[in-house]
């Protein structure tokens, strides 16, 4: 199994984020700073900082991995241990499944990630763009990353479009071409990002993952 391919989506995500942000600051943003107000690049810098901070923490923070149980914990033979164990939570009966890999009954809302080969508490999903599981400890950073990224993309799209409209008579110049590329790329990528952000807003509102 080539380990390099696991990192590839995350590498692309970081590359796209950093390159488009850098291009945005260097080309359209400079014009806004000179002709409109310093507040625009300043606010954009703050949003970018949030995006990078949340993206980093979602990537590097342990999701809530439960370490594999050592053999001395398993009193019953692996074969004889029932697959499910019932437990009562506030009067509701919940089934806990035996995890063959980790050798314990999975706590409620815990799930086994096949990519990382570990059990994760309050497991949401394994995100390839972040190259990490999203679970109890880093869900808030992942969620805030989606929200701040949506905000950042909306801002980049809007300001770049405004810049294009203001410079429509100078379409062959480099800043205008770059803005056009930014508008196109961000416009296309905003569909999955906004969709995922909206989906998670609904999940959080309903208290489900």
């Amino acid at each position: 199994r080539c380990k390099g391919t696991k990192v590839l989506p995350a590498f692309f995500a970081w590359a796209i984020l950093l390159i488009t942000t850098a291009l945005f600051f260097y080309f359209p943003c400079m014009w806004f700073y000179e002709n409109v107000s310093i507040l625009i690049p300043l606010c954009e810098a703050v949003v970018t900082l949030f995006v990078i901070a949340n993206f980093s923490l979602a990537t590097f923070m342990d999701a809530g991995v439960i370490p594999k149980a050592s053999p001395d914990e398993d009193k019953d033979d692996d074969f004889r241990a029932p697959l499910y164990k019932n437990v009562d939570i506030n009067g509701v009966t919940v089934r806990m499944k035996w995890c063959v890999t980790c050798q314990f009954y999975r706590p409620p809302r815990c799930s086994h990630c096949s990519v990382c080969n570990k059990c994760v508490e309050t497991f949401d999903h394994h995100c390839p763009w972040v190259n990490n599981c999203i679970g109890r400890r880093n869900y808030r950073y992942f969620f805030l990353f989606l929200i701040s990224l949506s905000l950042h993309m909306a801002a980049v799209f809007s300001f770049s479009t405004y810049f294009l409209i203001q410079h429509k008579d100078r379409l062959t110049q480099v800043p205008t071409v770059v803005s056009l590329c930014l508008v196109t790329l961000v416009g296309i990528l905003s569909v999955p990002v906004f969709g995922l952000a909206g989906f998670h807003v609904v999940l959080v509102a309903r208290g489900r993952t």
């Binding site: 900082l49 949030f50 990078i52 901070a53 923490l57 991995v65 439960i66 370490p67 594999k68 149980a69 050592s70 001395d72 914990e73 437990v87 009562d88 939570i89 506030n90 919940v94 314990f104 706590p107 409620p108 809302r109 808030r140 805030l144």
Partner: protein, 158 residues
């Protein structure tokens, strides 16, 4: 890697327990499971296990368990201060976490200190040893039972 760490730490503690020289592994281990009856928060069953009958007084065991449960409940409690800490951390781009631990992480050293103190005063003199549940991913509290009570047996020659 964590699996080896658990064994190394248990072994190290087992060796310090039998200060007379020969390290002896525990003859039995009791595992106190999580108590989910009131929800998914961290809480261990305060029921007295039958394997400890005659080895330790019920009240002492219950005191240990209840205190641990209280520390964890306090750590997970949502309060104004923990919300503010979260918001402030977000506003500083999480640089706050370079300087201080989260509200929950502050419970870990408290639990560790309490367990060391209980082991020294109550459990080790009775031939028992409590292992911090954090080493088992907060799933179970492990209690090791050693067959020889070091306080009562004379030095053995192996």
């Amino acid at each position: 890697m964590l699996y080896h760490r658990v064994f190394l730490k248990s072994d190290a503690r087992a060796r310090t327990l039998t200060a007379r020289g020969a390290p002896s592994p525990p003859t039995q281990k009791v595992f106190i499971q999580r108590d989910y009856s009131e929800g998914t928060q961290v809480r261990f069953q305060p029921k007295f296990p039958s394997e400890l009958e005659g080895k330790i007084e019920r009240e002492k065991f219950e005191y240990t368990l209840n205190t641990l449960n209280e520390v964890y409940a306090e750590a997970e409690k949502m309060s104004c201060s923990s919300c503010c800490e979260g918001c402030f951390a977000c506003l500083t781009a999480y640089l706050l976490y370079c300087c201080s631990d989260t509200h929950f992480e502050k419970a870990s050293p408290k639990v560790a200190k309490f367990i060391i103190e209980q082991n020294e005063r109550v459990y080790v003199p009775r031939g028992l040893l409590i292992i911090d549940p954090v080493e088992r991913g907060l799933r179970v509290i492990e209690i090791c039972i050693f067959s020889d009570n070091p306080a009562s047996t004379p030095a053995r020659n192996n």
